[in-house]
């Protein structure tokens, strides 16, 4: 069983709270561009809808498949992908394999949502209820 965060694009208001709190929690720095969850929109559209990049378990664990050194592994217990920094060679194959994988080059970390050990901060911080934990696949 895999768990993931479900994103409701109709409810998102672009407050960036999710990526702010995620990056701070994971990296000790507010750094939305390197968060496990990022919300973007196309500025060429007039107030267009968001797209959210967060692991939603829809890419057949392509990140794990692509990793040549087992730095990514599926945690059956928690139902999430784990990153093992000691094994990573920063080859960035996983970034090519899945659009929902993020990276923090400063700390050399691959950023994939791990649901904050069962209590996802982004869900708690979303003021509009656009993020819901409970999706399973």
């Amino acid at each position: 069983m895999a768990h993931y965060i479900a994103f409701d694009e109709e409810k998102c208001v672009f407050c960036d709270m999710c990526s702010g709190v995620c990056s701070l929690n994971k990296l000790e720095k507010i750094k939305p561009s390197a968060a496990c969850i990022r919300v973007v929109r196309d500025p060429l559209e007039s107030f267009g809808r968001p797209s959210c990049t967060v692991c939603d378990m829809t890419h057949e664990r392509a990140c794990i498949e692509s990793c040549p050194v087992d730095a990514l592994a599926f945690d059956e217990q928690a139902g999430v992908v784990r990153f093992i920094a000691e094994l990573c060679t920063m080859c960035e194959s996983c970034l090519d394999a899945c659009p929902n994988v993020g990276i923090d080059r400063e700390s050399e970390r691959i950023m994939i949502c791990d649901l904050c050990d069962g209590d996802p901060l982004c869900v708690k911080w979303c003021p509009e209820g656009a993020l819901v934990w409970g999706g399973t696949s």
């Binding site: 672009f14 500025p43 901060l121 003021p127």
Partner: protein, 601 residues
Amino acid sequence: MKYAGYAGKFLTVDLSSGKIAELPMSDDLAEAYLGGRGFIAKLLYDRLPRGIDPLGPQNEIIFATGPATGTMIPTASRIAVGVKSPLTGTISASYMGGHFGPELKYAGWDGIIISGVSPQPVVLVIDDDKVELRDAAALWGRDTQEAQRLMSRELGPEFRTGAIGPGGETLMPFANFLHVQHAAGRGGPGAVFGAKKLKGVAVRGTGGVRVAPRAAEYIAGCKELHDIIMENPVRPAFRWAGTTGMLPVVNEAVGLPWRNHQDDQVPDVSSIHNEEIAKYVRQYEACSGCNVICGSVVEFERNGKEYRTERIEHESVWALGPDCGIVDLTAIFEANVECDLAGIDTMTAGSTIAWAMEMTERGLLSKADADGLDFTWGNADVLVPAIKKMVSRQGIGELLSLGSRGAARALGRGEEYAMQVKGLDMAAYAPRGFTGMGLSYATTGRGADHNKAFTVAAEFLGVLGDYDRYSLEGKPELVKRMQDSTAIIDSLIMCMFTVDLGITVELYARCANLPTGMSITADDVYTIGERINTVERLFNIEEGFTRADDTLPRRMQKEAAPSDPRGHTCPVDDVMDEYYEQRQWDARGVPTEALRERLGV
């Protein structure tokens, strides 16, 4: 720097030579002036020679964030844009929300100091520490939204953009700078951009910002602040109506000016009621790090044309509507869009049209003077043509492009009908109905700004005490105190709405301390705010402003609003001595030596 929360340096860009460099921030500057408006006050006061032409090469544009910007402190999305104002000749800082400020911080910059004049149109592109000036010939002449789309197309979706429109290019003294549709709105910064041939600024920041405590502690502290706002009973009204919710309430209380402040109540506000505006809302929008969520997108149709745009704000509805005797909602929406595309201040635009309408009513502005435009009260069809003429600066447009006071002076008559202070037109809160607002308009550094001491909170909303709306008793102390605390909100930089949403002065201190590791007290908040107001005052005094400039139009002081059965006026001149005493300024309005010594300025 020993403090977290800051990036630790300013970017300096000299457009004349193309030289790009950095200026380290100091702990002393942070402690004394905090950020945002404080930095702008100190930097412009120290750097600009006296008496310069605001549109000349010696003026500077200063973008400044504050220590809370981009740190998840609620509403701390804002960035200040400071210049010597081409409209007022005073020091001036304007603010815009959205996502631009945090992005600049994440790129590693607390702010940008822009000097000189570029030989040809350019855009400033900041990609973390890679900074360049790019040719903007293809952007020149484009409206604010088209220019930003072109920047996004060239740079990609990750860059946050901002641009001036034709108003800035034609050096209109109340032109502004827009990030998406968030405007650094008043005081004319856009004209300074235009004079410098700087069409826009784009920024991408991937570096982020550090805060003082460990993440878990910071997240818990920040969540407390967010919850205070989230649980405030007023928050749903902001979430639903934005600023427009105030309109019917203020009108009911005889506090919403009508027809260039001839009266303080709109006869029938039903067509521009926030419930009418809400019918056009299609989606909600927040600024970065904000859980108030006052923004929204509307769709409407006017004269067969379809629009999709940001919902209008309270001040813009009023200035382009009731102030001109207009209550045709989609006409007001359309005029608002026209101002945003041109990159000009909606409030000054509306107030200047209102002045032209009163001049017409009094027979002081003929149809020939007005190039055939019909400035009859309530003529909604004149709004867009008048705005277009202002921006092109042709015919009557040249006159109106100067703002109401500038127009009156150029015409040689009608200055008594220019509803302004120091050249900045008044806002949607009637001084005769809220005397604290009158005193605030009269004494605020850049003129009749409603956001430098929003005393309506204390006089009407019951947030900061219980003052008699009509009496000036106690108002010098209230205005002074609120001007000082507001300077901190403008320096952190947080949103003014937080005053109404449970954020007290003690909590503003906490909002400064939490990300930075400083230990500011509530008393310090007032002292830093007093220092900022004092430096701004010194700037203006040295530019030649005197006590005579700290006043309100005669109408406010001598004539009552017909709709007010008790016939109140707002004689601010009567309490100016008391206000100066509160401020420790001498009888001429000059900060005393004792004050300067106490504040270290």
